[in-house]
Amino acid sequence: MSISHTDVGDLRKIVILGRLDVSGTGSVANELEKLAAGPTKGVVVDLSSLKFLASLGIRALIKSAQVVEDRGGRMVLFVGTNAQVVMSLEATGIDELIPMFKNNAEAERAAVA
């Protein structure tokens, strides 16, 4: 698992790689929440190269999105063409709560809108 971020103006982009499963989620969940609490208005979480997204990973995304919303910002997901991640998000209805984009530029615009 790895998690990294870059800040550009009002936008923080967080990239998660690996598998968000029982083994992998614990190592990035706290870091994700900390990064979501950061000073930027908008947050894009890039899941486009994630290999696996289980319920524990979705739980971490929900908590982070709530942290961003609580401080008046907006968190969105960039999924690209990652069909497996899209399946997990749609099956749980989380795509209705955290906006999900296949296009990176649209995700970035939505996060700071």
Partner: protein, 151 residues
Amino acid sequence: MRNGIHIGKQVDTLAIAASGDDIRRATEWLTTTLRQRDVPDPQVERLELALHEVLANVLAHGGSAACAEPIRIRIEVRGNATTGEARIKVSDAGIPFDPTGAPEHTPAKTLAEAKPGGLGLPLIRHCSDWMRYRREGRRNHFMFGARWPKL
């Protein structure tokens, strides 16, 4: 042969401990096995996620008995000229739990209302074409599977 149609069946089994590392080992084993059996990728991905959530439930809610004895997993891939099917059976010694009888998940209407837990069963339901459960002796036996048309 049954009714003039050949019924093929291939069976693989694995025993694991109730731990995060072994759950990953089991999902990777499932993926490798199903691909070797020519199960299409969309069904492999669905079943991998469903198995992960079934095992994660055992780990989180099965209690000490679930951790004291191996979890057994059985994969059966079968098919005829027109249809393929993969059947997965998970057997554990944990607290009795019937996923097929659990209430449906009610999605939150807003992010603020969303509760982070309770998403495993919706994923299992979404990823399976069917599910069955029985309690036999001191073990749960949960079965689920996916079907696909052969071109």
